[in-house]
Symmetry: C2
Subunit: 325 residues, 2 copies
DNA sequence: TTTGTTTGTGAAAATGATTTCATACAAAGA
DNA sequence: TCTTTGTATGAAATCATTTTCACAAACAAA
């Protein structure tokens, strides 16, 4: 079924049918005739043809570092909920934390494949930043702050600052930290800085070699905890950059006979199902992942609708989930 | 940059340029001229126009019940890996376990939006089955068996049969079961049946009210365990349909002072990160989720390439992960 | 020499919509 | 009365490609 067949059946021109669908001028009489034919035939305009003509694909490209992650899942859920209400669809690309792939997907999306791109970023390489600036479709960055670029991110710094203060307030003094690469500004650099500044503000030195850097996995948490423990057997608290890392650390400490929550306080971040169900449950930080997804989606739709708007950088808050009360 | 501009620059017709890209007849001389111009301009054909003309979108629609799930994540990762190698992209739709939405997405995808659909199914309603049959693009069903329909699924029945035997072999006799709705054939009905048949084969009765049915969440596992415990305070093993459910059950049993792995054996399914990191680690079943994704993707690409082929129903195996040795 | 096959070419049709344009009528305002 | 404005219409152009078609040339087989 094409628009001209519908037009013929309704006794009007194809332009009239197009106007019928796009709120153009159309008399009540013809509107009714078209409505009837459309209803009878179940006709729906071809999206491909619309796209070719209007240059709008009604799709948003979403690039995620990995799919099997609770934080990513929550952000995507937020994005989906907004896009759906607005008749947009989500084209998913999984970069597998490979910056080369990330760039490739950007190129693919630039090719008028999508009307906008939401990037759940980890590492913002120079090449990536450059690409973002020169992309022909609007971009929203989620999870990282990049000044001059539309983004929605979390207050990682203050979150970790607060959780470190919390640990200090419980009298802990031998505090270690397990984080991730500084190339990841939000999860790596900012969280570490929050830890360091909170210690400094309390007049405590950051102990030599008391911070370790590893990957995003349980296994990495385990390994890094092992190394810390060699250097600091009297460690009484460990702040971790993610829940998974904290769970790995917990495994190692338990093996050493440490009682978590008593001998050693352990904190994660992300408020995942995992954090709530290890025992004892992890003290963790709840970030508003769904909200960041919703905000990102709203922002990209706004950018598409209004062309360029003033750059907005949205910082979301957090909640402390304290299980050691 | 359009194909005719390229043609003009290369001194050939637009048809020649099209043939250049699509392996049609073209002389060495012109091929070289076109190659040069294409290289200089960085021209890439418009996907929208190609789609309109060829009716091929180079996209596969993937419908998932939810995104924040480790099993779904793993299947999608498998799908992505195969699609990517073949120049296809993945259009993701999240049904949020809402069968109405599932149907809607099917309709949207049917509209020549995608070249094929992979459905990670939970409940196969009559309406859904009907829709699958009459869809104009090929469909592959993942995670559920539907005879006469291309599908990739797991041997849920024997997996649970085996794990139940394992529990029996450890001398347990008061065994309960927490599952999910029978409307989900694979996770609900088949797994329960495996449990029941294993008991029957061992000459044991399935105790009155010893099987509970709830949702897919930790909270549901907790609640259902509570109810079972009221009826069977001397329960010595609980088989659960998923890891999350098992973790919920574990929480309740621990609160009752039960030692997991001694007083009560507890088994989950899915071999998730969660299962490995609660303590004690859950005995669980590893299903080949990534493989099911890869197989599904291969199948859908084959269906697209060759038109209809003989229906294939692929059953994948499993591994027992026994932590109570 | 004729016939057939393979290779090569560009003009033009086709894909299915939106949008521009030219035109027309009626009502409102000056 | 004359001009403006808003509503309404369909023919035709447009979007960027692939595909069909008609036609040639080259070469082999009959």
């Amino acid at each position: 079924m094409t628009i001209s067949e519908i037009a013929k059946l309704a006794g009007v021109s194809s332009a009239a049918v197009s106007r019928y669908f796009n709120n153009g001028y159309i008399s009540e009489e013809k509107r009714e005739a078209i409505r009837k034919v459309v209803e009878d035939t179940g006709y729906r305009p071809s999206l491909q043809a619309q796209t070719l003509r209007t240059k709008r694909t009604k799709m948003i490209g979403v690039i995620v570092p990995k799919i099997d992650s609770s934080s990513v899942g929550r952000v995507v859920a937020g994005i989906t909920s907004v896009l759906e209400k607005n008749g947009y669809r989500l084209l998913l690309a999984v970069s597998e934390q490979n910056s080369q792939k990330e760039l490739e997907y950007f190129t693919v999306f630039d090719d008028k494949q999508v009307d906008g791109v939401i990037l759940l970023a980890t590492v913002l390489s120079v090449a990536l930043k450059k690409k973002i600036k020169q992309l022909s479709v609007p971009v929203v960055l989620t999870g990282q702050h990049l000044s001059g670029c539309n983004c929605v991110y979390h207050d990682d710094y203050h979150a970790v600052y607060d959780v470190t203060e919390l640990v200090l307030s419980k009298g802990r003094r031998n505090i270690c930290y397990i984080g991730v690469t500084n190339h990841d500004r939000a999860v790596g650099a900012e969280r570490l800085r929050g830890f360091q500044d909170a210690l400094a503000a309390a007049g405590m030195p950051v102990l030599e070699g008391s911070t370790e850097t590893g990957g995003f996995t349980v296994a990495s948490g385990y390994e890094k905890m092992k190394e810390l423990y060699k250097k600091y057997p009297d460690v009484d608290a460990v702040i971790c950059a993610t829940d998974k890392i904290a769970v790995g650390a917990m495994q190692y400490l338990k093996q050493q006979g440490k009682k978590i929550g008593e001998d050693v306080l352990l904190t994660g971040q992300g408020d995942s199902v995992l954090a709530a169900n290890v025992s004892p449950a992890l003290t963790t930080i709840h970030y508003y992942y769904e909200e960041s997804g919703r905000k990102s989606a709203q922002m990209i739709l706004e950018l598409i609708a209004k062309g360029t708007i003033a750059v907005r950088e949205i910082k979301l808050g957090y909640e402390l989930v304290d299980t050691y009360q």
